[in-house]
Symmetry: C2
Subunit: 437 residues, 2 copies
């Protein structure tokens, strides 16, 4: 058969990875795909020393690629939402299939993009947009197609996981590790997307849609970063038999879909609690299969290229498929998406870790326990730390509590009452707890 | 679109799981597949109380199903190699697609079956044949299609992993746990297939083919069971920072393909070392993606049904695909399989754990170290246990050694020389060691 002609837009980290892997493994990939994958054009504003483009047709205008009639598949690797959206929409308009690694684009503009792709009979593939090299989109969308999926929970931001791992392993502070991550190139100069959970929320939004068959609703995702996690929290969690992970959680409940990214205590016995450093993992619970877990590199040139190229091979195979018979973009047929509502965080039920700084006075623990109890919240575990701090001349102690599962608004109510106690020194620190059973 | 009509052959554990999941999740599956999956006929010699077949067309002759002109997809769930082979070949002859959970059939007769399927333009899907509900075939064959796969290692027999986990967690003996596993129904009355590694070798044979693009060669797989693992080995491994797992390992080397199932010491820091009980996991190392791991239930009615039904959905989608464009059975195009040779175990290189029972005499350790050194084998770790046993009136001590990596035939040579020493009480116990880095 004739080679499939692809056009690569963007020659940054991922773009150069794709070119390099296609060069190195081209023959092995062709043995699988049954067709050669030919890089017919590369669109890039500038060269990348990580990648030798001699012999390739390189254009400085990336839009040349989507307008090139010879090209079957456009590979969008420029990132961002503005030009990338224009580029992808024009590619689809021109009847080209699209492969992208762009999580922000899919999470924020995927509904529009898939609708146009459906109308034009082309495929938009985005495995690389979630968890780098882990084939998680394919696994959930196809591998678990028999299941009613109950929930999934993932470590889907490597930078955040690197920071939390270093804090635990070496007792370092958040600020200290973040600075190192930036030096190592794991974290961007502006680390907001990573540490505030926005990057994870983009990925979680995509996973929730393919798990539950709902439209992409990034604007409804709840996001909380890891900046407020202290070394004390990390060691308290350890003492209680937990690890703190920055988790994306999405769950189908009778009231609606939970969609939330936040620091989470998870039992150290859980396999996913032992996923360390920059690695990613996603735990998926289906009604038939039970728990399954997928682990691997969540970022990096070649791991991401691995998923981009797998998508290219899939698209090559789909070229002869009746469009109505292809794997749907969001796992479910476009006319079969459901309008299950996304729950506001106040309606979500989790257990909680609370760290409460108190003036060391008699009776305060009893008051806290009563306020919790009044909201129907019971205490599963408790540590009272010896006073060790002097704040404004007063001796301050910490009470650490792990509660049972409770609706967040009840917890908010209890916390505001606790904070009103005169013995409380500062706002209550809370971290959600998930058993992942 | 019209429903796809499937015929289910066999109504044992998996067959009843498939019927039950299709009944329960039928609408959700149709939302994904875009077509209804209709059970047009069930062939089963007897009823199964786990599954209500009222309303279905049930035949006591399973061959009725493969001869039923209304049926598009035959689902073979009878197990074994004799009748199942006949049934599958006749189904293919009759132009039907086949989905099977039968690892023995694929590992031992897959080459013949795929050749006929290719000739007849139908698909044979077998996700459920390896690691139950984990979508490992799809992940390796499609998700990692960009990679030159270096090796993979899997815990792919739940019974064996249950036994080893119980031995470690509760200090029990192999015989004791095996008896319990049989009572619990995890292990068959004849546990040979599980504990001798034959079941794992069937699965590993399949994984090796799709990882490296080689024909199925079950007869060349090396198999060693877990029956000789003692409680002492389990606790020695623990002391050295390892866990013992019954691992299937296949690796591409310059000399050929390693294909082997045996007890293995793996570092406890490895995620896969923490996969316990009846759960399965496969660690796959690709050149682009690096290490990825897939975890889940390796057996059971509904986990296996999850994979069977995912395959049915895939086959439904493939109905309109040009046969030359489908995902090839063994991941690589049939005319692009390679003839890389399978290495005999004597040529495989691993590190070793050696447990040597000695008469407690001065100088024996020096003699052993010299014999190892003469074969170029160095000692990475060593424990000399205090004498604790009296064997035939003599005081017997244990020396535990972990060696560097060495070709097996050199180790065989060293061991036979060590066993010839007059201070050696019994044959040397050896367990291979893999760092899985």
């Amino acid at each position: 058969m004739k080679p499939v002609k692809i056009g690569i837009c963007g020659l940054g980290t991922v773009g150069s990875g794709v070119v390099n892997v296609l060069k190195r493994n081209g023959l092995e990939i062709e043995r699988r795909a049954g067709r050669e994958i030919e890089i017919a054009q590369i669109g890039a504003r500038r060269d990348n020393p990580a990648c030798d483009t001699s012999g390739f047709n390189v254009s400085r205008d990336i839009f040349d690629v989507v307008r090139n009639p010879a090209i079957d598949v456009v590979v969008e690797l420029i990132g961002g939402c503005t030009i990338a959206r224009e580029l992808v929409l024009e590619a689809i308009q021109n009847g080209k299939h699209v492969v992208t690694a762009n999580k922000a684009l899919i999470a924020e503009h995927g509904n529009e993009i898939f609708e146009l792709a459906q109308a034009k009979g082309v495929t938009v593939a985005f495995e690389a947009s979630v968890a780098g090299g882990i084939p998680i989109i394919k696994s959930v969308r196809e591998g678990l197609a028999a299941n009613s999926i109950h929930w999934l929970a993932g470590i889907i931001n490597g930078t955040g996981n690197f920071i939390l791992t270093e804090m635990r392993d070496h007792g370092r502070t958040f600020e200290d590790v973040l600075a190192e991550a930036q030096e190592l190139g794991y974290a961007e100069a502006d680390p907001t997307f990573d540490v505030e959970g926005i990057d994870a929320a983009h990925k979680l939004t995509i996973l929730a849609s393919i798990a539950f068959g709902i439209p992409l609703q990034f604007d409804k995702a709840f996001t909380e970063g890891i900046g407020a996690i202290s070394s004390e929290d990390v060691s308290n969690a350890e003492d209680l038999g937990y690890r703190i992970k920055h988790l994306g959680v999405t769950r189908r409940t009778e009231k609606g879909i939970e969609l939330r990214v936040h620091p989470t205590l998870i039992p150290e016995k859980q396999l996913i609690a032992n996923v360390d450093g920059v690695m990613n993992a996603i735990l998926v619970e289906g009604d038939a299969v039970g728990p399954t877990l997928y682990y691997g590199a969540g970022a990096g040139a070649e791991p991401t290229a691995s998923s981009v190229i797998a998508d290219i091979v899939d698209v090559v195979r789909a070229l002869t498929v009746d469009p109505d018979n292809r794997v749907p973009h969001l796992a479910f047929q476009p006319d079969a998406l459901s309008d299950l509502k996304i729950l506001p965080i106040e309606e979500v039920e989790t257990a909680y870790y609370l760290r409460i700084a108190i003036r060391d006075k008699v009776g305060v623990l009893a008051k806290i326990a009563t306020l919790l109890s009044d909201q129907g919240i019971s205490i599963e575990a408790l540590i009272q730390r010896q006073p060790k701090e002097q704040v404004k001349g007063e001796t301050v102690a910490s009470i650490i509590i792990v509660t049972n599962r409770v609706i967040e608004k009840q917890m908010n109510h209890a916390i505001s009452e606790i904070e009103a106690l005169c013995e409380i020194v500062e706002n209550v620190h809370r971290i959600r707890v998930e058993s992942l059973d």
